[in-house]
């Protein structure tokens, strides 16, 4: 790794740069506003157990979103993550039928995630295929395998201690999933913002050719990012399967879009090159708080989707509108 890559900036050089720098603070303000609005809107909101329950709305998706953020910053995308969850969960369910215990289930879940990630990564980095096309394909492929295996059946009978990952609490109202979420946030934050690998990810996203000529092994970095995304989908599969206590092929259906929404809301440039992990963390909270707050008011799900969509467009458009108004 050369020393020059230290000087490649975190953000795209653009007139928007100054606005983008305050992205996290803007998002944090939105999160605080939603939190306050929620506590006024519903008498049930400010309750430790309820807030703890609310975290389950986003922890699993956010785990994938961290790896997805790096992948999108590098200029690629993985739309097959929800299907990887389905396949990993199906593999774990099959292992249970063969008498596997919890440690084996964890290995099966993570292993399936890694294999799927490796398959995506191979097709993109070795065959040179565009990641959006490859992962739309594998999105159908991975879930399709689950459907072939399970049909309209379900895998049940997970061991009792397996329930800890999705239903267990580490301390008082702090769930295992939330601790894992926080831990992964720190790990990915350090990986992206404090290591040479993270610098390389930004460099590739900004200018892949330039990165290559700077001595960065572009294909290898991208392959690792696909592996990490697959691995995180495997982690999410373990948590979700444990929380549901069963596997059906429709598990986590449609999550890929929610994960991408979380990443983009977090300020990651969908075209690659910029973004941060703190942004994604705050975006996860924003989405979780909005969904839970509206849920407490019994707002129908379809209206929730509208609010999330409006929020996404609003937060993205705000800096531009601001600039237009000023300029």
């Amino acid at each position: 790794m050369s020393t020059t890559d230290r000087f490649i900036p975190d953000r795209l050089q653009s007139p928007l740069e100054r606005r983008l720098k305050s992205w996290e603070s803007l998002l944090l303000l939105v999160a605080i506003a939603i939190f306050i609005a929620n506590s006024f809107a519903s008498p049930y909101f400010l309750n430790a157990w309820n807030l703890s329950d609310a975290t389950f709305n986003f922890t699993e998706k956010a785990m994938i979103a961290f790896a997805m953020a790096l992948l999108i910053i590098s200029g690629e995308i993985d739309l097959s993550v929800a299907s990887i969850i389905a396949l990993a969960s199906t593999a774990m369910g099959a292992a249970v039928q063969l008498g596997a215990g919890t440690p084996v289930l964890i290995l099966v879940g993570l292993g399936t995630g890694l294999l799927c990630g490796a398959f995506n990564g191979f097709l993109v980095t070795r065959m040179g295929l565009p990641s959006i096309v490859v992962t739309i394909g594998t999105m159908s492929l991975f879930r399709g395998i689950s459907y072939i295996v399970l049909g309209d059946q379900a895998f049940r009978g997970y061991p009792a201690d397996f329930a800890f990952f999705g239903q267990g609490y580490v301390f008082w109202v702090i769930s295992f999933e939330f601790v894992l979420f926080a831990l992964l946030a720190v790990i990915y934050g350090v990986l992206l913002h404090k290591t040479n690998f993270g610098r390389a990810v930004y460099a590739i996203g900004n200018n892949p050719t330039g990165a290559l000529f700077s001595g960065i092994r572009v294909a290898r970095v991208k392959f690792i990012l696909f592996l990490l995304t697959g691995l995180m989908a495997g982690v999410a599969a373990i948590c979700l399967t444990s929380r549901l206590g069963s596997t059906r092929p429709s598990i986590a259906f449609g999550w890929e879009l929610e994960v991408v929404t979380m990443v983009v809301l977090g300020g990651v440039n969908i075209l690659g090159g910029s973004g941060s992990i703190p942004g994604v963390v705050i975006a996860a909270f924003v989405m979780g708080l909005v969904t839970f707050g509206l849920g407490l008011l019994n707002v129908p799900g379809i209206v929730m989707s509208i609010v999330i969509g409006a929020l996404l467009i609003g937060v993205i458009a705000l800096p531009r509108l601001w600039k237009m108004w000023r300029g």
Binding site: A154, L294, G295, P300, S305, A310
Partner: protein, 332 residues
């Protein structure tokens, strides 16, 4: 529906941007009717029935809710928010019999009455399950529908879904058990349209060619019945061959109008929502207990008796004909 959603949209946006006060009256009993997904006519009708029950009971607030698409994960989020609100009872039509169990168990642990209706939850995740009807009642109903219009007896054929479809096979089996009650009715053939419109249509055509004296086609599947009615209509035999079985009013309105079908049956979602609410109320107030053999009152729907898995059947499938099709065709 549109108006209610609009109001909620206003509420939602108001919340997201500003402050909103005024939660519901706390002393009302709150019963949540959780459906597979919002925006489905069948469930909107069930909600109407739930409101009817609430009005009859008094002091009951119905929370009609569900996810955007028919996923277990979506329903779990809904259940979590209902637990947070401390509702008194949850009556759910489940998207997944197993995945909802941990969430519903948690609800029961926090003192919430949980029942499932329409689409059930595994026994450990609910106190009781209300089936719209039972296999015996359905098996009897489909042959009765045909026999009622054939006082002199006649030939009927069955157009089923796939040869391996569990539900249809059980119903046909139950139908065969009660054939003795309908003398003069002869089942000449059973064919399979695989729940595909075009295959069902061709199978119905085949039946008419093979059995020129055919009087009725029984299709205990909503796809098959529509295709068979169309085939009869296209063959110019409407009024001559009666297509009956299980179908949806919205899809069958045309066949009733043309005379290709004199009547058909399916559960009535209004009654189902009504009965589920009545049961949830009876269990939440302690008027009744859910245990094998127990009878739970359902207001105007009578009583439901629970079997050893704590599930019970509401009633005979509801019969739709020219007299009521207009009322129901816009519902589901």
């Amino acid at each position: 529906m549109i108006r209610r959603n609009f109001t909620k949209l206003l509420a939602g946006t108001a919340m997201a941007s500003a402050f909103l006060a005024s939660p519901a009256l706390a002393d009302d009993m709150r019963i949540a009717l959780v459906v597979k997904a919002l925006g489905i006519g069948f469930f909107e009708a069930a909600a109407k029935g739930a409101e009817e029950a609430a009005a009859e009971l008094g002091g009951v607030e119905i929370i009609y809710t569900g996810p955007t698409d028919t996923t277990a994960e979506g329903q779990i989020e809904v259940i979590n928010s209902l637990i947070a609100q401390g509702v008194d009872a949850i009556a759910i039509s489940a998207n997944d019999p197993d995945a909802l169990v941990p969430a519903l168990k948690k609800a029961m642990d926090r003192g919430i009455t949980v029942i499932s209706w329409d689409s059930g939850v595994a026994p450990e995740g609910r106190q009781m399950h209300l089936n719209p009807s039972s296999n015996e009642l359905i098996g009897n109903m489909i042959i009765k529908l045909a026999a009622d219009h054939l006082p002199e007896g006649g030939q009927v054929a069955v157009l089923s879904a796939t040869a391996t479809a569990t539900n249809q096979n059980i119903w046909i089996e139950e139908m065969n058990k009660v054939m003795g009650n309908y003398p003069g009715i002869e089942v000449v053939a059973t064919v399979y349209g695989d729940d595909l419109a075009d295959k069902s249509y061709r199978e119905a055509q085949g039946l008419m060619q093979s059995y020129p004296d055919l009087d009725a086609i029984i299709a205990p599947t909503s796809v098959g019945i529509v295709a068979a009615a169309q085939a009869v209509q296209d063959a110019g035999k409407a009024g001559e061959i009666n297509v009956t079985g299980l179908g949806l009013p919205s899809e069958m309105a045309g066949a009733i109008e043309s005379g290709a079908s004199k009547s058909f049956a399916i559960w009535n979602p209004i009654d189902l929502g009504y009965a589920a609410t009545m049961i949830a109320h009876a269990l939440a107030t302690g008027e009744a207990t859910a245990e094998p053999g127990a009878s739970i009152p359902m207001g105007r729907m009578g009583e439901v008796t629970l079997d050893e898995t704590n599930s019970g059947a509401m009633a005979d499938p509801f019969v739709y004909d020219a007299s009521n099709i207009d009322e129901f065709k816009s519902i589901f």
